[in-house]
Amino acid sequence: MTDQPPKMAVTFKINGKAQALMLDTRTTLLDALRDHVGLMGTKKGCDHGQCGACTVLVNGTRINSCLSLAVMHEGDAVTTIEGLGTPEDLHPMQAAFVKHDGFQCGYCTPGQICSAVAVLEEIKAGIPSHVQGDVSGTPEMTVLEMRERMSGNICRCGAYSNIAEAMAEVAGVRIAETHEAKMRDGEVRA
């Protein structure tokens, strides 16, 4: 029982910078980022893939970093909230969150922003969602699509309405012309 736990080497790029770590194989990507690389921007809300606070981009795709072991990411490129922008040089999505007050306590915020950036790309790439009338068609850049795709990121402070505004601004769509109008016309589900 006193044997040391198995360790494995892993090399990946975090925000463009190469990192070589020797990790207990049980270490999640989330804990590797926080406790081994020292990037605390990625948050641990549940450690079970239920809340989305740990969302990061791996090779451009968003994942819950708590559900992924670090050693599975050999050679991957990971982007965290710190890699999107800095207080001096905000990413447009970060700036939009500040402008529209798309957060309160701030704990889910890095995950929300990473997801929001990825969601706009997913819609552009034509990845389908549950709210499309026809999943074989092309998804529209609407707030409805954004809300659906953001639903794995919980915000208990309840900033959803403001996050929607921030995302709409970055996507260049007007909320009134999309989701709300259709909803009033009974064309789409709320």
């Binding site: 736990p5 965290t80 996050i163």
Partner: protein
């Protein structure tokens, strides 16, 4: 400074900075991941070890044996601390259950031990190797079963009687007598309870996540039987609290015990599935409401009774509070009964009392209006009161409740609502509108601050106030900026440190008004010191655009501190204006809901809140408070419920997958309107709270909208489709 008479004109009235929709001053840090939360601080003496807490596997009984031998032999393990080897602990005044259990177990997941190891993975693994044998005792876990034995209360929670309720109710031509239930609910804040603790000699320091720094310091001192001066608590960023972080919790106690045992800093974050049963929750209630009116709709009798449960020594959910103040009526009754239950500790969650109280009262009002054949907005307007109904000689400080209802109705298109339910269809959707009042008292707490003017003209504010997402950093910066005639960029705000003057803290929607009033008081003192330093008359000196002006003289503010920093510290204390005037906040919530006529799925389509809460210090952050509360209200109405296992005595759905809270797709665009108010009887800021007002009544507005859509009245929250699907109108 003591606030004893209504505020006259003061520098805040200029509203050059106060009242402006300033972006959060901590916004750039939070959106870039640079704001450090409790578990993330690097300013710690030495490499922290990791603690993993073990919780009780039974709800009631004893630990028969705890075998830690195997765990202690595991790699990296530094210490295992339990009641067997921990120093004897005291108990803070504010906790009902002990934070370290054993050998007696008071509730499921009560902390019994902490395993400390070099890494998180090692600590978690070793915690799984601790073997505990229990002697299971029998417990009481069912509120409905315990209700007949529930006991009356004394003091503030005692029954209230005004006039002859029973006689007036019996004589009323229109009567409503209904019983409703609300479930146990969980704060489910995004940041888990987390602490880094270390000892330096006999002094304890913690980075923690807590709403009330001064309470936390005092309770840590009581727990470790040490003088409060030896405790240093810091909590500069709090990842949500909602009342769950008002009190000292197990993360801090177990981290401090672990740190003592291994002689290094120890960091602990409670695992999510551990949080619900280890910590506090909003308790379930059973509520009976009786309303008697004249044929014209005037309330002649209003009675509200509530039953809730808690561990022995605990308190009730004060769900009848608002009924003492919200509506007119000469004959009144409120009563609360408390049952002993062996579930985890019941305690405050956002708007304790009013949140579940208004969920119920405002359905009852809707039902009464329907019996009268009256519009529910009109019924509420008719029964407005401008005085405390129990003490008619005592007026409200300001009460624009009727305006909230009427302006909201106009804005929302309330006139389009069909009074008869189940009448509006859009395709497969049944559409309904609901309204509810919002009401929550204003509370003021003593709050102190220190302000420093440096030679570069920057003002720094230091107070132990917390920002739990509420916007404290921003409104405190705005207050100091307004007082000193500076832009927000020239103010630095430091919060959440017990070495700073003790503030009101964050709770009971008292934080914004109280803490900014403390900063106001400190700034009044600083203005006097600045004027004196500049040889100006403090009484006439004006602070405008970075300058101090008196008579025909002017100087830059920075000039005053050239020869050395000027420091002022002051507390705002409160006289008896809250006794002379009832200080409350008001609002009206409007909701449009769509219910799928085939599946029963409910969607909230439109939401509007109109709030009257005194001066709004920052409309952007205040609006966020309200939309967040509206979101939580939708959760309470439609999905949130801790499921009680009545055999084994715990909440089954104790994580974020099982305890459902609203997500993006559940919430539509939300609209909030603040009436333009300034309440001179509450504080020099003339402001009141909004963070809890925004929640009170939302659930009932949703419930009333679902009823209006379907014609099925559900009186047991949450309104899940199993409770109404079979009763939906026939498919057209």
């Amino acid at each position: 400074m003591k606030f004893e008479t209504p505020a006259g004109a003061n520098p805040i009235d200029a509203m050059k900075v106060i009242g402006q929709a300033v972006d959060r001053v901590d916004g750039k840090l939070k959106t870039t991941g640079q704001a450090p939360y409790a578990y993330e601080h690097k300013d710690v003496p030495g490499k922290p070890a990791y603690g993993y807490v073990i919780g009780a596997g039974i709800a009631k009984g004893r630990v028969a044996s705890m075998n830690t031998a195997e765990a202690k032999r595991m790699p990296g393990v530094l210490a295992v601390v339990s009641a067997e080897n921990a120093q004897p602990l005291g108990k803070g005044q504010m906790n009902t259950a002990k934070l370290l259990g054993g050998p007696e177990v008071d509730h499921y997941h009560q902390a019994l031990a902490v395993v400390v190891a070099e890494s998180f993975e090692q600590a978690r693994s070793a915690a799984n190797a601790v073997r505990i044998e229990y002697e299971r005792g029998s417990g009481r876990f069912d509120l409905a079963k315990a209700k007949p034995g529930a006991q009356p209360l004394t003091g503030n929670d005692a029954d209230t009687h005004t006039g002859d309720f029973e006689g007036a109710f019996a004589a009323a031509p229109v009567q409503l007598d209904q019983t409703y239930t609300t479930p146990d609910q969980n704060h489910a804040m995004m940041e888990p309870f987390a602490t880094i603790a270390w000892w330096e000699g006999d002094a304890l320091s913690v980075w923690t996540s807590n709403q009330m720094i001064a309470w936390n310091k005092k309770e840590l001192a009581a727990t470790f039987k040490m003088p409060p001066e030896k405790v240093h608590v810091r909590s500069p960023y709090v990842g949500g609290g909602f009342g769950g972080k008002l009190f000292l919790r197990a993360d801090a106690v177990m981290a401090a015990l672990g740190a003592k045992a291994c002689g290094r800093p120890v960091k602990i974050a409670l695992p999510r599935p551990f949080m619900v049963n280890n910590a506090t929750h909003r308790p379930a209630t059973i509520q009976r409401v009786r309303i008697g009116t004249t044929k014209e709709g005037r309330i002649t009798a209003i009675g509200h009774e509530s039953w809730s449960g808690d561990l022995p020594g605990g308190g009730p959910e004060v769900a009848t509070q608002q009924t003492r103040l919200l509506y007119a009526g000469a004959n009144r009754l409120t009563a609360m009964r408390l049952a002993e239950l062996d579930l985890p500790e019941a305690n405050a969650m956002r708007a304790p009392g009013e949140a579940p109280g208004m969920m119920v009262l405002e359905i009852a009002i809707d039902e009464t209006a329907e019996k009268l054949g009256m519009d529910p907005v009109e019924f509420r307007v008719l029964n407005d009161t401008q005085v405390d109904p129990e003490h008619p000689e005592r007026p409200f400080s300001q009460r624009n409740f009727v305006r909230c209802l009427q302006e909201g109705a106009a804005r929302f298109g309330w006139s389009r609502r069909k009074a008869k339910p189940g009448q509006v269809r859009e395709g497969r959707w049944l559409i309904g509108m609901g309204v509810a009042s919002a009401f929550r008292n204003n509370i003021n707490m003593t709050s102190a601050a220190r302000v420093r003017l440096a030679g570069d003209g920057v003002v720094t504010v230091e107070t132990d106030m917390t920002d739990i997402g509420t916007g404290s950093y921003t409104i405190i910066a705005q207050t100091a900026a307004e007082m000193m005639g500076l832009p927000v960029e020239k103010v630095r705000v430091k919060l959440g440190d017990s070495s700073f003057p003790a503030s009101a803290g964050s709770g009971g929607q008292w934080g914004a008004n109280s803490s900014t009033s403390g900063v106001y008081a400190a700034c009044v003192k600083l203005r006097e010191a600045v004027a004196q330093r500049l040889g100006m008359d403090p009484a006439t000196a004006e602070f405008i655009d970075g300058e101090v002006r008196a008579g025909n003289r002017s100087a830059s503010l920075a000039e005053a501190a050239k020869s050395g920093e000027i420091v002022a510290e002051e507390a705002m204390q409160w006289g008896d204006l809250a006794k002379k005037f009832q200080q409350s906040t008001f609002g009206a919530h409007f909701v449009e809901a769509a219910v799928d006529s085939y599946t029963g799925e409910t969607r909230v389509r439109r939401m509007l809140a109109v709030c009257a809460a005194g001066r709004i210090l920052n409309p952007k952050t205040a609006r966020s408070q309200v939309i967040g509360a509206m979101t939580m209200g939708v959760g309470g109405a439609l999905m949130e419920e801790l499921a009680v296992d009545r055999r084994f005595g715990f909440f089954v759905n104790h994580d974020l997958a099982g305890y459902e809270v609203p997500v993006h797709a559940d919430i539509p665009h939300q609209e909030v309107i603040f009436l333009d108010e300034a309440d001179d009887k509450v504080s020099p800021m003339k402001a009141k709270g909004v963070g809890e007002l925004g929640l009170c009544g939302v659930g009932a507005a949703v419930a009333n909208a679902v009823y209006n859509a379907t014609g099925v009245r559900v009186r047991d929250y949450p309104i899940t489709l199993d409770k109404y699907l079979a009763k939906l109108p026939a498919i057209a």
